[in-house]
Structure formats: C-alpha cells, structure tokens
C-alpha cells in the first residue's frame, strides 16, 4: 500500500471515530441526561414556562436535529452558560485549562522520566537483584491507590502533623515562587502514582527492543552498552513510548486532575468538572467530555499520520 492510501485510511477512521465519540457524548449527556427544565425554572412553574424552556433548549426537536445542534455547539465551541455560575462555558474552560496544565503536567513528565530512568537501570541489570528490586518496588507502587498517596502527601507535607512545608489547599499563584509552593505536592503525588506503571511499561519495551537482531549484531561488533542503549534500543522503542505518552496525556490531565484538583483545591479543569458532576451542571460536563474525546481523536489521528510519514516502508515502497 502506498503512503496516499494509508493517509486516506487514517483520515477516514479518524472521521469515523469523531462521529462515534460525539454521538456517544450526545446520547449520554444530552439525550439521556436528567431533565434540565426543572433545574432552570424555579418552584411551581406553569406549563407554559416549562414549554418555553423546553423549546429554548431544543428538547422538543427530533433526535437527529438535536444531535446536529450539539455538533454545531461543538464546532463553534459555544456550549452556552453554566447552570450554576451563569458564566459562558467557553470562558470557564479558557480560565481553567492553563491552571490544570501547570498543576498536572510537571508530575506527568517527572513520572515518565524517572520511570524511564529506572527502567533503563533495570533492563541493564536484567535478571539481577537490582532488576528484581526495581520491579518489586514498581508492583508495590502499582498497588497503592491514588487516594492513599494523596492523603499521605497532604498529611506528610502540608499539615502540622507532618513536615508542614506547603499550603494544604489552594492556588494563589502570582509568580514562580508561589507556583513552586502550590505545584510541588501535586507534582510529587502524580509522579509517584504513575511511577510503578511507567517503570514496568518502559522496562518491557526496552527489553523487547534489546532482543532485536540489530542489537545483537551491534553487541557482536563491540558497541558499548551505553551506545547500544542510546543509539539502537531507545530509538526503536520510541514508537510504543510515544503512543503510550499520547494515550495517557488526556487520562492524566483530565482524569488525574479530577482527584488532585478537588483534593488540593486547585481551580483547574478537574475542579470545574468535579463541581459540575456534583451539581449536575450539564453544559459544563458535556463540553468537557466531548471536547476531551474529540481532542483525543485528533491527536491520535495526527500521530498516526506522522507515523505514516516517518515510516520508510510507506514513503519508499
């Protein structure tokens, strides 16, 4: 198959996924969601009031018209206003997303880098006691719940019962010093939680890449372990690594921030979503769910296209 065919296929499956995720979001959040008209109206509304709100919300339209209306909201990024605060959902997102990225990304990067480092050490000493110790530690890490780590971090680092080095809640960031003060504990928490899974994954990938023929050949030619790792093993492990990182970014940034932010009182997208879940704020919830899913499909499709572009088997058939 040529590059062009591959690109077309990738785009087509991306489009199919887009239809799927938007449809699923629509059915769950809009079509089956709890009735909004009673939330919007006060007590004892008249039948006419209910009817007019239902009309305004397009609740009386046929199924597909409502789906198309939802798609229109999605494309124009106009999800209406939050039921709770009355602010436009778009501006809520614009305010919270940067905070979440600042609070959550460092931990994500740290967890991956340390995991990769530990995995390289383990893979280098494969079968030895260093390897076994690292792998035993990562299974233990995989068995600790995020909630446990969060509570330990808060008591140990942010409360008078522990070291009391950091503020226990909040996000009053006006400069880099403040940022360090508020972001350190969430960063450590996220890095620790992901470390077990990351180390294990990276070790598997590295061991598999190290079993390849060209690595054996390189070793036979007398290449140093360092050169084999950096020149042969890592580059060939890059595709599974990139795929995993891409797959976990939305998971960590959105899902991880749900717990972290609601616990540490960080006013990011996770806190916004948490509050929306608690208060049935449908416009906010449907925006977060559908936008994350759509963004994920787009990232996935673009990365697939990039693989197509760099794969020599496709560009030089």
């Amino acid at each position: 198959m040529t590059l062009k065919v591959h690109v077309l296929r990738t785009l087509l499956s991306g489009a199919a996924l887009l239809i799927g995720v938007t449809f699923l979001s629509f059915v769950l959040m809009v079509y089956f969601g709890p009735p909004l008209e009673y939330t919007l109206l006060g007590k004892n509304p008249t039948a006419e009031q209910i009817e007019s709100v239902r009309d305004a919300l397009h609740l009386n339209d046929p199924f597909f018209a409502r789906y198309l209306h939802f798609l229109h909201e999605l494309v124009t990024l106009d999800f209406g206003r939050s039921i709770v605060t009355g602010q436009p959902v778009g501006s809520l997102l614009a305010r919270t997303v940067p905070i979440s990225l600042g609070a959550v990304l460092p931990g994500f990067v740290l967890g991956n880098l340390v995991g990769l480092g530990l995995a390289m050490v383990a893979a280098h000493h494969r079968g030895g006691w260093v390897d076994r110790a690292i792998m035993a530690a990562s299974v233990s890490g995989m068995s600790v719940s995020l909630i446990i780590v969060v509570i330990v971090a808060q008591v140990g680092l942010c409360s008078p019962l522990g070291l009391n080095l950091f503020p226990s809640r909040g996000w009053r960031v006006h400069g880099f010093g403040d940022y360090l003060l508020y972001a350190t504990v969430p960063t450590l928490t996220l890095a620790v939680v992901a470390l077990g899974y990351n180390t294990r994954f990276y070790r598997t990938v590295l061991v598999e890449a190290a079993a390849a023929d060209y690595v054996r050949t390189a070793r036979a030619y007398g290449a140093t372990p360092r050169r084999i790792m950096l020149g042969h093993v890592l580059p060939n492990a890059l595709i599974p690594i990139t795929t995993r990182v891409l797959f976990t970014v939305p998971l960590i940034v959105v899902s991880g921030s749900l717990v972290i932010e609601s616990f540490f009182g960080i006013p990011g997208i996770g806190q916004l979503t948490f509050d929306a879940i608690q208060s049935n704020d449908q416009p906010v919830l449907k925006a977060v769910v559908s936008l994350t899913a759509v963004l994920f499909v787009i990232v996935l499709t673009v990365s697939e296209l990039l693989y197509n572009a760099v794969d020599p088997r496709l560009s030089h058939p």
Binding site: L24, V139, I147, Q154, P250, Q282, A293
Partner: protein
Amino acid sequence: MNGHSAALSHSPWQRAVGLLIRDRVGMSALLVVVVFAFIGLGAALGWWATQWSALSGGYYEPMSRTHWFGTNVNGQDIFARAVYSTRVAFEVGLSVALTSTALGAVLGGLAGYFRDTWLDALILWCKGVLDCMPFYLFVAAVAYALKGSDYGMHAAMIATFWTTTGRLVRSEVIRLRELEFVRAARGVGVGSWQILWRHILPNTAPLLLVQGTIVLVTAIKTEVILSFLGLGISDGVSWGRMLSAAAQEVTAGHFNNFIWASVFLFALVMAFNLLADALHDAFDPRALR
C-alpha cells in the same frame, strides 16, 4: 515445547499449574487472595461484620478490645466496616471482571475470526470510540445518564474495560485461526461457529485468566477513586468510601479509617497484581522475563 520430551506428555494447563505451584511469590499471593475471598464470603453470608452500620460506640474511639480498629465519626466499628468492604470489593471486582472479560472474549473472538469483514470493522470502531472517551468522565457521563441507578459505575467499567481484552483476544484468534488444528477442522467441514467456540476460544483461556485478574484489580482500584469523586457506591460502605471519609479527618489526627482501609486495599490489590504476574509467567511458554 523447547524439545523437552517430558513436557510433551503434559497439557499446557498441567504445565502451568506445575510452574505456579513452584512459584513462591505467586503461591503466597494466591493464599492472601483466598483469605480475603473467605473474609468477603463470610461477610456476604452474614457470618461476621453484620454490625457494620450500627452505632456501637462513641465517635472516634481509639483501638480497643471491643473496637479492634476503633470507631469512626459516627461511632461505627471500623473493623466491621473494613471487613464488610471486602465483600463489596469482591462484588465490584468479580462482576466487572467476569462480564467485561466475557464481552472481550466474544467480541475479540468475532473480530479476529471474521477479520477484515464489516463485523471486524464495526467491533474495532466500537473499541476505538470507547478508548477515546476519557475514562472518569465517561463514568461520570454514564452515571449522569443512569441517574438513580446503583449500577452506573459497574456499567461504565464493563463498557470500557472489555476493549483491552478484546484487542488481545482478537490478535490471538488471528494467530490461532491459521494453525493446523483449525485448518484441519475446517478441512473436515466443521462450521465457522463451531470452530470459533469449540476450538479457538478455549485456547484463549490462559489469556482471559490473566487479563481477567488485571481487570479485577483495576475495578477495585477504580471503585476507590469513583467513590472519592462521589460517583461510586452511593450507600453502604466500601474502602473507597472509608478513604474519602478519611480524607476529611486525617488532618484532625483521626487515622483509623485511613490506616485500615489502606491496609486492606493495598494487601488485596498487591496480592492480585502478584497473582496476575505469576499466572502470566506460568502460562507464557516463552518465559520472557
């Protein structure tokens, strides 16, 4: 079988069981799981921990002879709650693991056997769509859509956890489909369904066992996070609910809820993780590790 003539006389299952019995870590993990299963079973049958919701003491009592793990803010016995939660963990874990593994086996089997047909494309599309939904938000959305039902959490986990099993089963079925015993069956005129159910899917059992254990762990861990977010068990008790209560009270110095829910949760999840590893090693003929 690496040319071991002795191994030829054993089935893969006998060989795996033999390897598992010699795996000390795996057997200890199995023992811990069995103990927990017994605790959970006893709680389910009303042998113990029946008083988990009774107000049996003062609030925040320390550990004592009457209240082994102390009491919580309402004066409920933390030992009874931790024990009863074992039952809840097994209920959530087993129901999600069994259902999603069965779903993954059937859908993955169909996709693999009818590879490159419309059925395969449809199943892969469903899997792709579910994989693209951010998990906790999906649970929130399902819980939102199933408002009032206690099984929104279960439904969402089953709907998303089958996809990994399905993908693994699909590639295994694609491999098995081309093996000689399947070709032979096809050659003597056995129908497609018969081949898939009787000859191919039984051979994916080791994979399903390992994957089912991993899903069970994930389900138990996920319940904890969902209960913390207010999307999980809505009434009753679970380690997740104990931990989310603990989150409010640890800074005031009340640690019993936190310690005991954590100990129970960690011990069971760790045991299941080690058991999954041991099963994987026992069934993997390549023994890559």
